[in-house]
Amino acid sequence: MFKYIVKRLLLAILILFGVSIILYVLIRCMPSNFLRDQYIQARANYGVDTSSEEAKAQLERELNGILAPYGLADDSFWGIIKGYFMWLGRFLKGDMGISFQHQNAPVQTVIGKYMWLSFGISFVALLLEMAIAIPLGVKCAVNQYGKLDYVATVLCMVGIAFPSFFLGNLFIKWFAVDLGWFETHGLTSGIMGSEFEIFIDKIWHLILPMTVMVLLSIGGLMRYTRTNTLEVLNADYIRTARAKGLSEGKVVYKHVFRNTMIPLVTQLSFTLPTLFGGAMITEQVFDLPGIGNIAYKALLNGDVFLAMGYNMFLAVLTVVGILFADVMYAVVDPRVKLGK
């Protein structure tokens, strides 16, 4: 097992290396670069003449001086490769660079600052999702082709099919504006009051986005649970349990349910990236200052290191999630041997 994990970790490093090269090259190919755009803007605001050839050359020299320390000056192929290794060297030392958009704060700090809101939303949504989807899935499987099964399956399919931005906008229109129950966007409405009141205000703002996230993700988990439970129900040991004369409740909740949990644990490991990485679209629709929204802006504005940092963060989470899923599989199910 130890050997297996070490081998997988080495492989993960290789994968992350490949991912980082592709990401860096693509991000550097983006025409917008926040630092350069800001500098040109600042010069224009200052009234510096940029029309003459000499001024242009001067600007280039200045930009070069500003961008070179970050390895962002040269946009040629070799320049990008050189910049990549500069980035990689710092990354390996634990320095992910600075975010130009956020007053040159280190990328780790920026991600850490905005991540927890996204994590909070996703975590509560995940808990709710599990609390509804898993019992429902088991119930549907036990009463396969029953009325409940039929209705729940169709509703789940509808939930899976709904695009988050469509449902989000519908909810904003209905519940936030037409009925006036919730807030349309943002995290706070800027009220003054005790800390508790502000907290309640924040929660109030988060109800709609959470509802959207839960409604849209419930379907997948419920179907997964249902399929697995059906498989378990057909297994020989369930027949044995029934033959022993166990009550139906005992069969379902002791024998079926616990075996259903095995694939579920692995499935939940895969939610790691969404848990920490934020929901880019939902945050966008509700204008929440979560990590997904911040990363979206960083990508659009060419905040190179923050964009790089966020994407690497997601990639690391994905790799770790997959590894975790495999290891958990062996931990939960003693029949599984991790080998080779």
Binding site: L11, L14, I15, L16, G18, V19, I22, L23, L26, I27, C29, M30, P31, S32, Q144, Y145, Y150, V154, M157, V158, I160, A161, F162, P163, F165, F166, N169, L170, I172, K173, V177, T184, P273, G277, M280, I281, Q284, V285, A295, Y296, L299, L300, A307, Y310, N311, L314, A315, T318, V319
Partner: protein, 405 residues
């Protein structure tokens, strides 16, 4: 779906009755009347359960014995080809039929709808204006102007641009109103459907071709080829999809492709380049297990070429899974296109696609006061994804030999 459950149960009942019935006949040979009535009962119960099967009929007909003597076996037993069985199973599920009908309706709406729309098409978009009226000449008078000493004769024309109803409400002429540019929303929905559905199909087909070739190579050759390809697949599937689409879209927009339809094709290309990994994994996994089976040993010992081994013997066995994954993939591609459109980074602004239409919802005024602009697109996207998922699920169940009927 209820039928699926009752059918095998029903079958079991009949079988037990069958074992009973011959005993009856041996005990009282003369009681043919009661026997045939029992058989009729079985048939009736089968009919009432709504599942008349060829197999059942042949069973019950056999019981009737001498009446059917002399008839040809072919006339009694129907032999279904595997594909016919799949089709039969597929159409037995209500949900898949609903899905199929929805898809057909959406296609008709998108591809035939504009024919009946009174609003003219203009490069894939539709204006509220009659094209004949666009250049309505109000006055034309000859003028003379000078460049240096040379005189030029010209015709000064003043034309009246037709009044465009912007942000019109729902009315008899515009069933879904008109949008911010004066386009008829319903007609734009139709044209949007053309783009969105076509993208779905093209991307899925290309993705599958790439995935089959690469996955097939990895699965068949194994060893270092497999290792290399699978690491590449790992890398590609670890790249977060939405950020990558964002980056690529910005690159294309800034490099001057932003307002041309070519950007759409580039986006499709990128969707393909990122999306083939799933298919490749699927094909590789299947081929790895199929490779070890006896029929491949037979193929090898009869000296077939590698080409025919892969394409004639291995791939046809993967086709069921491929069809299912393609159908389910269609839904997800339509969703991706819509997401890009919503973030305003998909097809160029002004092109009618479902994604671009729903993008109007991000404007809070339109969201609140003009739901006719974007709800239609949202419903179309949801319906399309739902329908493809229904059909995909139905096909998966139909192809699955483990499913009882």
């Amino acid at each position: 779906m209820k039928k699926k459950d009752t059918a095998p149960l029903n079958n079991g009942e009949e079988l037990t009755e069958n074992t009973v019935v011959p005993e009856n006949t041996t005990v009282c040979d003369s009681a043919t009347a009661t026997e045939s009535s029992a058989a009729a009962n079985v048939v009736e119960s089968a009919v009432s359960e709504g599942s008349v099967k060829a197999a059942d009929q042949s069973l019950t007909e056999e019981e009737k014995g001498d009446e059917l003597h002399g008839e040809n076996l072919n006339e009694r037993a129907k032999v279904l080809s595997p594909w016919m069985t799949v089709l039969k199973r597929f159409f037995r599920s209500k949900l898949s039929v609903i899905g199929l009908v929805t898809i057909v309706v959406l296609f008709l709406f998108a591809f035939l709808g504009p024919v009946f729309s009174p609003w003219a098409a203009n490069g894939g978009t539709v204006t509220d204006t009659d094209p004949a009226r666009i250049k309505e000449i109000i006055s034309a008078s000859p003028i003379t102007y000078y460049v240096g000493d040379e005189a030029f004769e010209a015709l000064a024309v003043s034309i009246r641009l037709p009044q465009v109803v912007k942000l019109g409400d729902i009315n008899a002429a515009h069933w879904l109103g008109t949008d911010d540019m004066g386009y008829d929303v319903l007609t734009r929905l139709m044209y949007g459907g053309r783009v969105s559905l076509t993208i779905g199909f093209v991307v899925v087909i290309i993705e599958t071709i790439i995935g089959v070739i690469i996955g097939g190579l990895a699965g068949y050759f194994g060893k270092w080829v497999d290792n290399l390809i699978m690491r590449l697949v790992d890398i590609l599937s670890c790249i977060p999809q939405l950020p990558i689409m964002l980056i690529l879209s910005v690159i294309f927009t800034e490099s001057g492709l932003g307002d041309s339809i070519a950007k759409l094709y580039y986006m499709m290309m990128i969707l393909c380049l990122i999306g083939w990994t799933g298919t490749a994994r699927l094909v590789r996994g299947q081929i790895l297990s199929l490779r070890e089976q006896e029929f491949m040993l037979a193929a090898k010992s009869s000296g077939l070429s590698t080409f025919s081994k892969i394409f004639k013997h291995l791939l046809p066995n993967v086709i069921p899974q491929l069809i299912v994954s393609m159908t389910l993939g269609l839904g997800s591609i339509i969703l991706t296109e819509a997401t890009l459109g919503f973030l305003n980074i998909g097809a160029p602004y002004g092109t009618a696609t479902w994604g671009n239409l729903i993008n109007l919802a991000s404007n809070s005024t339109y969201r609140q006061y003009y739901p006719n602009l974007w709800v239609g697109a949202g419903v179309c996207i949801t319906l399309a994804i739902l329908a493809f998922n229904f059909v995909g699920d139905g096909l998966r169940d139909a192809f699955d030999p483990k499913m009882k009927r």
